[in-house]
């Protein structure tokens, strides 16, 4: 048997070797504010852990460099990532002096580079394996389950990020709730309004160009600008329309953020509804008319089911976009994970930034995978849909 070299594997191996041997694995700080001191893998981990992690990294490097089956690459990548995840928890325990509650341990560049290299290996193997939608969702659940298990087991409790969380657990879940409500609520409102608008645009051509043009222009406006512009009219409504303030309409806070996200969400929903309906084959409509279906029956029974995958694609775009944009709501007092991101930026506290950014990215990522799988399952001809 002849060994052949995988080009991508060489890059991954170089990254992993740099991350494992040259870059620091963890940062130790005597308290939250002071500058950190770098610790290599062998300094940061108890010796047994050092051996396990390094052996797995070496194994992953070998598997990556040689042309090996995708399943083996995926398995090795995930085993090594799991070891890294548990290892960084062990590092926290190992580096923090006993009884010391001020010391902070956080992952350093070497850890992130290793994670990135192994993530590349896993992503490449997954892209080559082309798993079915159901398998992808199961895979995602397994990864999320692993993260949840590690979190609840307390393995990471010694890490700086989790210490930031511990001191803000209540606010964290309150902001998480606001974030999800903003992203999902505006999506729901946009779906309820956008799909009928799309149907209307499909039927009335003159309305289509005008409305899509306006929605396109709105989509172009940067989020913080739109949030800002909406403060004025909403503030006016709150003062002058009786009862508006009572249902939570205010110049700043959740209301302008919600309205802005709703406006951003309209374009993908309306445009995809129009495109989906336009793509319904003429024969299907003719046949439906032939058997005497009314316009409404035809819409619900024929056009809508056929256009559904395209409309769902619009909803996916909106959901991922809204989860990201909802972070900016924090700037106008709308809450959400952005609160931690901007507080962290203000205090130059990286861990606080991560406390806001990591859940946002995880949320957006989960939404993208789940909706991609749903779109693929809803599409009759599966080979036409590109997987994530």
């Amino acid at each position: 048997m002849q060994f052949r070299v995988d080009k991508l594997g060489v890059i991954i191996a170089a990254l992993a070797a740099y991350g494992a041997f040259l870059a620091p694995f963890a940062t130790f700080r005597a308290n939250r504010i002071v500058a950190g001191e770098a610790r290599s893998i062998s300094e940061a981990l108890p010796s047994a852990w050092t051996v396990v992690v390094l052996l797995l990294v070496v194994a992953a490097v070998i598997v990556a460099v040689l042309k090996t089956p995708s399943r083996l690459r995926l398995g090795t990548a995930f085993a090594t990532i799991a070891a890294l995840a548990l290892g960084i928890g062990a590092a926290a325990g190992h580096l923090t002096p006993p009884e010391n509650t001020y010391a902070r341990v956080s992952p350093a560049s070497g850890f992130w580079i290793l994670l990135f290299a192994l993530g590349l290996l896993a992503a490449d193997a997954l892209a080559r394996l082309r798993p079915s939608p159901l398998v992808r969702v199961l895979f995602l659940s397994a990864v999320l389950g692993f993260i949840a298990a590690v979190l609840t087991s307390g393995t990471w409790d010694g890490l700086s990020l989790l210490k930031e969380y511990a001191s803000r657990a209540d606010t964290f879940w309150a902001e998480a709730g606001k974030h999800v409500t903003l992203a999902l609520g505006s999506l729901a409102a946009a779906t309820i309004v956008g799909i009928p608008l799309g149907v209307l645009c499909h039927r009335v051509t003159r309305l289509r160009d005008g409305l899509l043009g306006v929605l396109n222009a709105i989509q172009t406006i940067p989020s913080i600008a739109l949030f800002g512009i909406l403060i004025a009219p909403l503030g006016w409504i709150a003062i002058h329309v009786p009862g508006a303030a009572a249902i939570g309409i205010r110049g700043i806070g959740t209301a302008p953020a919600f309205v802005a996200l709703f406006l951003y969400s309209l374009l993908p929903v309306v445009a995809n509804t129009v495109v989906g309906l336009a793509g319904v084959p003429r024969e299907a409509n003719d046949a439906a008319r032939g058997i005497g279906m009314t316009d409404f029956q035809r819409l619900v029974g024929i056009e809508f089911p056929l256009a559904f995958p395209v409309i769902l694609t619009g909803i996916r775009i909106v959901l991922v976009q809204n989860i990201g944009l909802a972070t900016i709501a924090a700037l106008i007092g709308g809450g959400g994970f952005g609160v931690f991101v901007f507080q962290g930026v203000g205090q130059t506290a990286m861990d606080l930034v991560l406390l806001g950014a990591v859940p946002t990215v995880l949320l957006a990522f989960t939404a993208a995978i789940v909706l991609d799988a749903m779109i693929e399952m809803a599409t009759p001809n599966r080979s036409q849909v590109q997987s994530a």
Binding site: D124, I221, P222, A357
Partner: protein
């Protein structure tokens, strides 16, 4: 004869320029939004200068993103780079689920405050749409044309320069437009990490409870973004029609 939307854009452009050069002309319009003695026009820097800095940041980041994204897309669509193609596709998909704010905030601890993290975040985030569209453009060329080019004895380089890139150009240009629009928005948030952009006006307004600042900052950024988007779209159309598409 001018069409109505074009006329509308020209007027918007003229008003924008007038506002940037002579903001005090508009003072009476913004006055009702603020309390008695608060300033109605941004007074902590010149609006024109902030606009130019904003545009400069976007231009530098986009130029870098275009060069790198195109080079990468060309590399992974050659037969020697084919091993990277599946991963490139999933990286683009994964990368676009990262919110721009997160990219920006995470760049701060590495690059410090100011212009630098903003440029890096704009560059990284701007890469994705250009790379994605260039990949789409270069991998969906009609096989018959590629076959014909090979048949006439064109070298790989000639095929790339004379056939593949021109044919993929409309899709690539659309990617660049998308990237510019995203960058304009992300640059606005850049002022939360002390980059000098138009976001500064909005943030200053939010912090000092000055609605006039918020509205003027928001409107300048909004009009700028819409006009640039439309201008790029018009440029795409004229290039596209010249190429016979």
């Amino acid at each position: 004869m001018l069409r109505l939307p074009t006329l509308f854009r020209l007027v918007a452009f003229a008003v924008l320029i007038a506002f940037l050069v002579q903001p005090q002309w508009f003072e009476p319009l913004l006055r009702p939004l603020v309390q008695e003695n608060a300033p109605a026009i941004y007074n902590q820097g010149s609006l024109l200068q902030l606009t130019l800095l904003h545009l400069r940041t976007v231009a530098i980041a986009t130029a870098g993103a275009i060069v790198v994204a195109l080079a990468l897309a060309i590399l992974v669509t050659r037969s020697s780079g084919a091993e990277f193609l599946p991963l490139s596709r999933s990286l683009v998909n994964i990368g676009q689920t990262f919110p721009p704010v997160a990219v920006l905030a995470l760049a701060v601890p590495i690059f410090g405050f100011g212009e630098k993290p903003t440029l890096i975040a704009l560059f990284l985030y701007g890469l994705l749409p250009i790379f994605e569209n260039a990949l789409t453009g270069l991998t969906t060329l009609p096989p018959s044309i590629m076959e014909a080019a090979r048949g006439t004895g064109m070298t790989g380089r000639q095929r790339l320069m004379k056939i593949e890139l021109p044919l993929a150009m409309p899709v690539i240009l659309a990617g660049i437009r998308l990237s510019v629009v995203i960058s304009l928005a992300t640059a606005t948030i850049g002022s939360t990490v002390a980059a000098r952009t138009l976001g500064e006006v909005i943030i200053a307004g939010l912090q000092s409870n000055n609605l006039a600042f918020v509205v003027q900052g928001g409107l300048i950024v909004a009009v700028l973004a819409v006009l640039i988007h439309d201008a790029l779209q018009a440029a795409e159309r004229s290039i596209g029609s010249r190429m016979g598409r």
